[in-house]
């Protein structure tokens, strides 16, 4: 078993929390893990990505080879497209449909959505709407993790335990909201 995942988004959108949850769950499941992330300048509202590799065998490279990525999991539609050269032909793109517009030449939304629909395996989710229904738009990232969870080869129960581990120190309310967001995202993706 091997899963190479690129997490994409804009600095501050919480992709490192997604990476942390999958990472904790993978280690709990006895898998090998490497997860490269971006710190520093680009975290200030720039495009950010994390390469997350889990496998039942030792992982060599911290970076995913081009053309071999199993999933691009993005919390922003344009950022989902930025890393397409890494996606394997059978790979999945799971992305939020909510644009984050902080540049003057941000493309028209319908053009972006049309580009995403061209990808064979894709899941488009209105993460902000679903997150808002669970109590806060801030948990959009966990909605997206939920939406991707069916293709991760890590049990949802293990992911939920990992979320509990990660958010524990922020209190039970935060833990509950994140888990609810995760379940709602999983359900929304299942509906297709």
């Amino acid at each position: 078993m091997k899963k190479d995942i690129i997490l994409a988004g804009v600095g501050g959108q919480g992709i490192l929390s997604i990476a942390a949850v999958i990472g904790i769950a993978a280690v709990e499941s006895g898998l090998h893990l490497k997860q490269a992330e971006v710190h520093g300048m680009s975290q200030r509202g720039g495009a950010v990505e994390s390469h997350l590799r889990i496998s039942d065998r030792p992982v060599h490279s911290d970076l995913i080879p081009e053309g071999e990525c199993d999933m691009i999991l993005s919390v922003e539609p344009m950022e989902a497209l930025r890393h397409l050269s890494f996606l394997s032909p059978e790979g999945w793109v799971v992305t939020s449909s909510n644009p984050f517009k902080n540049i003057p030449d941000y493309p028209a939304e319908e053009v972006l959505i049309a580009e995403i629909r061209k990808i064979g395996n894709h899941i488009l989710i209105d993460a902000e709407q679903i997150a808002a229904e669970q109590g806060s738009r801030k948990v959009s990232n966990m909605v997206m993790l939920g939406a991707a969870s069916a293709h991760l080869d890590v049990l949802p129960e293990t992911l939920e335990i990992a979320m509990r581990t990660l958010f524990e120190r922020k209190g039970e309310e935060v833990v509950g909201m994140n888990i609810a967001a995760f379940r709602a995202g999983r359900e929304a993706a299942g509906r297709g």
Partner: protein
């Protein structure tokens, strides 16, 4: 012992703690920051058993570490690659004095310049100083080599460098710990003259350093850190240094390569080890993350005709970091063409945060300078460097820590008036104060704006040495009291701030304007913590 999931940086930190570290000194800088942050959060620091201090700059960090070593303890100084330029003076001389307690200098390199001004390869500094360099390829090796590094340092009585590039520094993996070693007890150097580099003594010490070179090579040949991995296909051999080894292994597994590999993670490399390896194969490919240090030494000037492939003959790019695709390409392995990225995707550069005080400062400065025309603002390293981009287009330089003040002075001496420096509070206490003193002593008319956000913001809001001290520092350096002005960069103060700036721009002497508002990120963190 249990496994931990750690960043490469954190693996160094945990490795140092478990190796009996007594203190770490550092100035924040991407990608090195997380080493010291991890140690600061650790139990031994919270219990007061280990020091973990941010320092004014990298030079003071390394000197403090050297002092701790003098007193017999194991210590570490951490910095980004360009920080080592700042610390180069103690770095070069500590190789001559040698150490008492073990000293590690961690240099975190940033090939591809993700968050830096250049991509210098710190291994050259290690070679320059004549000290051992360790270059881990994985998180586990980062942990183990840190511990070995302290032993090595105390065995040869020399500082040891650990070189870690961005991709390892900021990548997480599982790390298995070793038993914890207790700290050294305090002990003065046995030779009271060891740290006295008077010429007569320095000459002796330097000859001692030169004489140990061969022993360092021998150590690197026998420590097991550098190792030969046999292969059946002897046409080509691969020398893989540091992180490049991982990319090679990734590619070798995919394409089922079975060729000899020399894995290098310790320098200076023993020439015999290289000669034996090269003798086994018909040609050699050198993979290294950074400059072609090993490749260049293999070629020499007289290039004997033996086939050496790498960054210098063009099969690998001369600049930028490596990755599996680049390595596969260099090894002539055919790859399917990857999908192209739609041109719908636009670049999304970083920007100042919403509500950032630097932004309001730049808006006021642009308006105040409008009557003089563009091209007169020298700036520095920090979040405010983003003032170079639209919508501000407010600054004209970013060279090195502190250069805003001194470049403004030089331009002013050449006749540019007004000549403006924009520098952050932490950068000012790092390297701006001395330049301001130059301007005061020479009476060079400059307008220095210290954009004070009470934090080292770009690297995540670490403590700033400047907080609460700027007015006193500038007054102490001789700036006249009436020309030390304070403004609060908020929209509602815009007109008043423009007025303050205009007054000081017109003044033909040294003035300092402290633009004082807390970093929005650290302010938010405080609110969250309650």
């Amino acid at each position: 012992m249990s496994k931990l999931v750690l960043l490469g940086d954190e693996a160094i930190a945990q490795g140092a703690l478990d190796a009996g570290l007594s203190g770490v000194y550092a100035y924040p800088g991407t990608p090195s920051t997380e080493i010291t942050e991890y140690i600061q959060r650790s139990e031994p620091v919270r219990q007061g058993q280990v020091r973990a201090d941010w320092t004014a700059n990298e030079k003071t960090a390394l000197e403090a570490a050297l002092g701790m070593s003098y007193a017999g303890k194991r210590t570490m100084a951490c910095m980004k690659h360009v920080g080592l330029n700042v610390a180069a003076d103690p770095f070069m001389n500590a190789a001559v004095t040698g150490i008492n307690g073990g000293v590690l200098v961690v240099a975190a390199d940033d090939p591809s310049m993700h968050s830096s001004q250049n991509e210098q390869d710190s291994r050259f500094y290690g070679k320059f100083a004549g000290i051992p360099v360790l270059e881990p390829s994985s998180q586990q090796e980062a942990y183990e080599l840190t511990r070995y590094g302290f032993d090595l340092s105390e065995k040869f009585r020399l500082p040891v460098m650990i070189r870690i590039p961005t991709r390892l520094a900021h990548s997480r993996s599982a790390v298995e710990r070793s038993p914890v070693r207790i700290q050294n007890s305090m002990a003065m150097p046995s030779d009271p003259g060891q740290f006295v580099l008077l010429p007569a003594l320095a000459r002796k010490k330097y000859r001692l350093l030169l004489s140990v070179r061969e022993k360092l090579e021998e150590e690197a040949a026998t420590s097991g850190v550098n190792r030969l991995e046999q292969g059946k296909e002897k046409k080509r051999g691969v020398i893989a240094c540091g992180l490049a080894y991982n990319y090679y292994r990734e590619v070798a597994e995919k394409y089922r390569l079975d060729e000899p590999v020399l894995k290098i993670s310790q320098y200076p490399v023993a020439p015999e080890m290289i000669k034996d390896f090269v003798g086994m194969v018909e040609e050699v490919v050198v993979l290294e993350e950074g400059y072609p240090l090993v490749e260049e030494s293999l070629r020499g000037i007289l290039d004997t005709g033996y086939v050496i492939r790498g960054r210098m003959d063009g099969i690998l790019p001369r600049d930028g970091e490596l990755n599996p695709a680049i390595v596969a390409g260099a090894l002539d392995l055919r790859r399917e063409k990857p999908a192209t990225v739609s041109d719908v995707v636009k670049s999304r550069p970083p920007a100042l945060c919403k509500g950032c005080g630097h932004a309001d400062m730049f808006l006021a400065l642009n308006e105040a300078l409008a009557e003089y025309g563009p091209g007169r603002v020298f700036s520095d390293i920090g979040c405010y460097t983003l003032g170079a981009l639209p919508p501000f287009n407010a600054i004209n330089s970013c060279v090195d820590m502190g250069a805003s003040v001194t470049m403004a002075k030089g331009a002013s001496d050449a006749g540019l008036h007004p000549s403006v420096a924009v520098i952050g509070d932490s950068t000012f206490t790092h390297s701006g104060m001395t330049g301001l003193l130059d301007a005061v002593v020479d009476g060079s008319p400059v307008t220095v704006i210290i954009s004070d956000n009470s934090a080292t913001g770009m690297t995540g809001g670490q403590k700033s040495h400047a907080t609460g001290r700027l007015e006193q520092i500038c007054g102490g350096l001789g700036v006249e009291k009436q020309h030390i002005r304070v403004m609060i960069p908020l929209r509602k103060n815009h007109a008043a701030n423009v007025k303050v700036l205009k007054e000081e721009l017109a003044y033909e002497g040294v003035s300092v304007i402290i633009s004082d508002r807390e970093c929005i990120q650290t302010a938010k963190k405080k609110v969250r913590k309650g």
